[in-house]
Amino acid sequence: MKFGIIVATHGDFGKEAVETVKKIVGEHDYVSYISVDYDKNLSIIQEEFEKLVNKFLKKYRHVLILTDMFGGTPSNISFGFVRTEKVEVIAGFNLPMLIKAAKLVGDNNASSLNEIVTTLAAYGKDNIKIASRALL
């Protein structure tokens, strides 16, 4: 396996998203999450991120972090990991993007990290639909 995915969000949003994805694409240990709460010490959160990213980097060649909101704390911490080329971050993930990510990286012929993030960002955007325009 070449990729690990970490979903980093405010509160348990990411945890729930990961649980949901597991029900759709099956149980996979290459998908994990970090919940960031406002009542936690920032350096403890930072440590939590470092531990999980390092653990994943031992198992996988690359780590893809998906965060809930550009500019939020989970995103701000995650963006710091681009210092290493092995990690890439997409801010503003949605469920379709996460499902696609879990499927893509689960494929042993998965392409490069750069190609994957390009595909995922476009896929996430494409899956935002306005009902009246999609149907009528």
């Binding site: 405010h10 406002y38 009542d39 936690k40 010490n41 920032l42 350096s43 403890i44 909101m69 550009f70 500019g71 939020g72 704390t73 995103s75 701000n76 963006f79 710091g80 210092r83």
Partner: protein, 168 residues
């Protein structure tokens, strides 16, 4: 809320309004979506020694700030040089440490300080709200500042109830 007056070289007076917030996350969602529009801020000044020397961190923090808002980074000791240079008139000064407060506001006319997310990692920690904890020593420093007549309020978002810190 408070005024910063500085005689400019042309002889005129530049008045700047400065709002102060302590938040260990510095610029993030609550600040960008909450305080900045609420206070009609045009300039964010981050006074933090660690961030001042880390350009990647500065880029990350600036990413989510709308382009019409200026962002400046400074060490705490250089802050007084930075503020007069800011073009904006309504400044949000962000600090990540209570310990930096008294040095940062030393020569400013501050009437109010806002306390946001804060969780020190060591020391004897006092929990003042779900999001604001500080050490004994930091609480002492806050009370010292309150004694000088500055309102200190724990308030994470503009529409939340503020909790005041009294000096006695």
């Amino acid at each position: 809320m408070r005024l910063w007056k500085k005689s400019s070289s042309s002889g005129g007076e530049v008045e700047k309004e400065i709002y102060v917030r302590v938040d260990d996350r510095l610029i993030h969602g609550q600040v960008v979506h909450g305080w900045v529009p609420h206070l009609n801020i045009d300039t964010i000044v981050v006074a933090d020694d660690r961030v001042a020397s880390d350009t990647l961190q500065q880029k990350i923090l600036s990413l989510s700030v709308p382009p019409e808002i200026e962002v400046c980074y400074s060490s705490v000791s250089e802050l007084l040089k930075i503020i007069p240079r800011c073009k904006g008139k309504r400044i949000l000064l962000l600090l990540s440490r209570v310990g930096d407060l008294s040095a940062a506001i030393r020569d400013m006319k501050v009437r109010k300080i806002n306390l946001g997310n804060y969780h020190p990692s060591e020391g004897n920690i006092v929990k003042l709200s779900s999001f604001f904890c500080c050490t004994d020593e930091e609480l002492k420093q806050l009370k010292e500042i309150a004694r000088e007549g500055i309102d200190i309020e724990i308030q994470n978002l503009p529409d939340e109830k503020a909790e005041k810190i009294y000096y006695n």
